[in-house]
Amino acid sequence: MVLFEAVLSGILVGGMYGLIALGLNLQYGIARMMNLAYGEALMGGAFTAFWFFTLWRIDPLASMLFSVPVAFVGNWLIYRYLLTPLVRRAANQDVLEADTILVTFGLLFVFQGVALVQWGGEYRGYTYLAVPLNVLGATVALNRVLAFAAAVALALALYWLLRSTRLGGAMRAIAIDPVAAQLVAIDVPRLSALAFATGGAIMAVAGTLVSMFLSFNASIGIVYTLKALIVVIMGGVGRMLGCLMAGLLLGVAEALGAYLVDPGLTLAINFALFLLVLLVRPQGLFSRG
């Protein structure tokens, strides 16, 4: 029964991992930018939820009305004014990749530094919907179930959007071949910026959801950037459902490792899985071919 509880809590966290991997897929798969400051929007969303809740008793879900648009606009600005100039300047794709990684690596420390100065380094958290809930005989907190349900619902909505709408089709076309996309009248720079900004907005949602049941501090962003990266590599770049499945898998693996061996092993399990996938199936667990 305790084992089942561990698996269940892994699945509940895994939904979140799937969601943040989808957002990274929007940024890396469609806008083609490896953004190492990706997780900072999650940190921002979490702090927004925390302060709104502790200072003004505003519901964390309502705080997203503020944090999500801010993350969207902020990421749009980063894409448009920080990263697009690099594209124009870069001699080739390799130079561009190196440049964007360096720039966003620096950006990550800027955001982290500002957050540290503002809010200090200590871990924060608040109590929200900490009601025990019985799921198939196991006990879990309502806030975790809510966060899972919201993450999976958003991920599926995003999947539907990409699969079944004209706009989503255009974004998938950009992910496959940006030149061919221009030839069918797709405004590639505009939709890439939209995808990038949406990826950031998703992280603000994820940050809000995470803050409901996990403590966090100013330097938490990079941890989630890495997790998203690992899940995207596991699921396959551009594979939306693959990323959702890989997210659940990572969540369960972490929970089982923590339960069966030691909770301190979480990060080690992350990277062990990462290395294993890179060695055995570098194209991703759920890719064809």
Binding site: A180, Q182, L183, A185, D187
Partner: protein, 235 residues
């Protein structure tokens, strides 16, 4: 409808096109003959907005300049390119590729009937509408590429060596389809290495050598020119 003047393109120090001028009249088929490396692909890519022209060039559709417009706007102006290497969305089905072809605002109206017409024109695509295009043969992929370009309801269709890599039989089939399009009034600008098939289709021919137009004329003029017969017709 298409007017090109003073078109020069350089990749770094290498000059790929120099002072090219050409015209395509509405409803006509114009063929540009040229050997490998003559600048045929660069010429079409410059018209489609994929590579920038040197300052001073003029590219206009119906008198309005499209020079320096981004590629997606040029599609909206009614110019569609079937590019070198086809550049299909390989991980998508035939239908998804064709629907994306109609992404342009100008193509939204009448999308359904146009799709039906494409599937009738290229019957093999109708049978394989749900197949992923990367799993199709070269000839089938070329059909998808042409149908995708036509889905944007273009006033001018640009074709970059459509017969490349096709068997002689498929090449003939393809040109029969192009002839049908032309007789339906589609304006076409086609670049080719294979002269004998394309000359039969052409109303007017330009010959491109080392980035310059060196000759132009009717197909008969070209056929009767001894030096050209040797270079392009293999006679």
């Amino acid at each position: 409808m298409l007017e090109v003047e003073n078109l020069s393109v350089a990749y770094g120090k290498h000059e790929a096109l120099r002072d090219v001028a050409l015209r395509v009249e509405t409803g006509r088929t114009v063929v540009i003959l040229g050997a490998n490396g003559a600048g045929k692909t660069t010429l079409l890519n410059a018209i489609a907005g994929l590579v920038p022209a040197r300052p001073g060039a003029r590219i206009a559709i119906d008198g309005a300049s499209i020079q320096q417009a981004p590629a997606h706007r040029i599609v909206e102006r009614g110019v569609a390119l079937v590019p070198e290497g086809r550049r299909l969305f390989g991980e998508m089905s035939v239908l998804d590729n064709l629907r994306l072809g109609a992404y342009a605002q100008r193509a939204r109206e009448g999308e359904g009937p146009r799709l039906e017409r494409m599937l009738a024109l290229f019957q093999r695509l109708g049978e394989r509408r749900h197949q992923l295009t990367r799993t199709m043969s070269g000839g089938e992929q070329q059909m998808v590429a042409i149908a995708r370009a036509l889905m944007s309801s273009p006033r001018l269709l640009l074709l970059d060596e459509p017969s490349l890599g096709l068997s002689p039989r498929l090449g003939k089939e393809l040109f029969a389809t192009l002839r049908q399009l032309a007789s339906d009034g589609q304006s076409i600008l086609l670049v080719e290495q294979a002269a004998h098939l394309s000359l039969r289709l052409a109303d007017w021919v330009y010959v491109l050598e080392n980035g310059r137009i060196v000759r132009s004329g009717t197909p008969d003029d070209i056929r009767n020119d001894n030096s050209l017969r040797r270079s392009y017709l293999g006679l």
